[in-house]
Amino acid sequence: MTDNQSFIQVKNLFFTYPDGTKALEEINLSVTVGEFIALIGQNGSGKTTLSKCLNGLYKPTSGDVIVDGLNSRTTPIVQMVRRVGYVFQNPDHQLFNNNCWDEIAYGPRNIQLSEEEVKIRVEEATQVVGLPQIYFEEHPFFLSKGLRQRVAIASILALRPQVIIVDEPTTGQDARQSFEIMDFLKDLNEQHGHTIMIITHDMPIVAQYARRVIAMGQGKILADGPTGEVFAHPEVLERTFLEPPQITQLAQGAMELGFQPGTLTVEEMLRQFEALH
């Protein structure tokens, strides 16, 4: 992976909050276009802080964050958010326009696009998230949680960022909703070419969707690699107080029978079982 293939490069990043808390230490990583990454770690491990450094909301205390050739320290945030979008966990933190259409148009208007361009962007975004037209004039406050989340994502998509960071996409959702949102993100990744990064501690979801896992603990990166490889080493995950999904644990408990420690899904487990006889 050479430098000019990376969309995001983080070099020796340190971040300390104004009150003195050290949130990030010596972070080095690079992200290429088209990846699907899960950023995992215990609460307080620094994962939210890191992702906010990636889109310019936070400026590094020392070190550099370079996105698409732009250094986050010297680039106005308006430029950064066109490249890295951040969807907050609770859609209520960002919905304030009177109707969904204006809500989604808010981003493009902020970056001074013409009204025709804004219109194109909004229509595109609503189509991608599957927001039916009847909701365009509705006030976001009165929509269901699922719809509000879609409006929130659409409002980020309208900025057409290459990278989309989603904070806790499945927290508080039931199984069906979780899969819906994750399939949607997978679609964005595979059909539309976006780089997706999810911040989560939902390990089965990570196992099923993320191709790369970055595990953080105490402000440092503890592991960074393909999902199967990271999960095959539960002792690393333990350091950030996480454990692999149940199916992986089942496989790891049966290694002497021939199962792989990096098993991620039930399907993989079944295939291995078939192969045993």
Binding site: L57, P76, I77, R82, D92, H93, Q94, L95, F96
Partner: protein, 286 residues
């Protein structure tokens, strides 16, 4: 470090030994002193006394530095307003003329008196807020039998304020993440746009209000009826006992106030005429 309403106090500080009621009493009574004292030098002395108390309580006096610009601008505004709009009396002494405005001694004198009345009142407030934790306020109120509903609403207001501030920061970041940028824009624009923030904050508070009420009801809190008249044990008061020195301090504060009133109304102390500082200032300017 323990977080107080307006700053931090180190874990070891004499101020914790004082019953919260005494702190509240101090603030309420002492902030009345300047109302009866016109002579600025006395009010300045009061300010110094309070600074001394803050230092004894080991409050980090550096936190007061943020108030200096405020104090200076406030002082300037007061002087200027009085000069331009102060009272009028044919016996006022004219000092000089500046840009066509007549500057009278009496107006400057009044400005100085008012300024040094306000300052110690603010200081007393700040002293109280920097040495009291939220719990102290509640305890102070409960110990004088303020009705539970009042103290509880107060506590919830403090709690909500904290949550709203947290929400505000997240909302701000969420807007920035969508390209919201106020650099280089006019003040009017900024104000208009900041009003936007209210909407998510309201939405969040509304959603939380329902859960909050449910939590209260589920904890057996009854707003009306038989259950609401139950005698509350006020467990928190068991941590605070009113000691002999608390009684002494309370008496001292009250006594000082009475002495002040006697001196003021009985013997004419602290008046403008007998203020050597004002007299000196008058000599200098005229």
């Amino acid at each position: 470090m323990n977080k107080t309403l307006l700053g931090y106090v180190p874990t070891r500080s004499p101020i914790y030994a004082i019953h919260p009621f005494v702190k509240l009493f101090f603030m309420l009574i002492v902030s009345l002193f300047p109302m009866f004292v016109a002579a600025p030098e006395w009010n300045m002395a009061l300010m110094l006394a309070i600074l001394l108390l803050m230092w004894i309580s080991r409050v980090d006096v550096r936190t007061l530095r943020i108030y200096v610009p405020v104090a200076i601008s406030m002082g300037s505004i007061i002087v200027i307003s009085y000069i331009i709009m102060g009272g009028n009396h044919p016996e006022f002494q004219l000092i000089t003329r500046f840009l066509g405005i007549k500057i009278y001694w009496e107006r400057i004198r009044d400005a100085v008196v008012v300024y040094f009345r306000i300052l110690p009142m603010i200081f007393t407030m700040v002293f109280f807020l920097t040495t009291s934790r939220e719990r102290d306020l509640i305890v102070a109120m409960r110990s004088v039998r303020v009705p539970f509903v009042v103290t509880y609403v107060f506590a919830m207001a403090l709690r909500s304020a904290g949550m709203v501030i947290e929400d505000f920061q997240i909302v701000r970041q969420a807007e920035q993440a969508r390209g919201f940028d106020t650099t280089g824009k006019s003040l009017g624009y900024r104000i208009r746009k900041y009003v936007m923030y209210m909407i998510p904050l309201f939405a969040l508070s509304l959603r939380r209000a329902e859960e909050f009420t449910n939590a209260l009801v589920a904890r057996g809190y009854a707003f009306t009826g038989e259950a609401s008249r139950v005698k509350r044990a006020d467990y928190v008061l068991t941590h605070y006992s009113f000691k002999y020195y608390d009684a002494i301090f309370t008496a001292l504060i009250g006594l000082t106030f009475i002495v002040l009133l006697i001196l003021r109304y009985g013997f004419g102390y602290f008046s403008i005429e007998r203020s050597w500082l004002l007299n000196w200032l008058k000599d200098v300017l005229t």
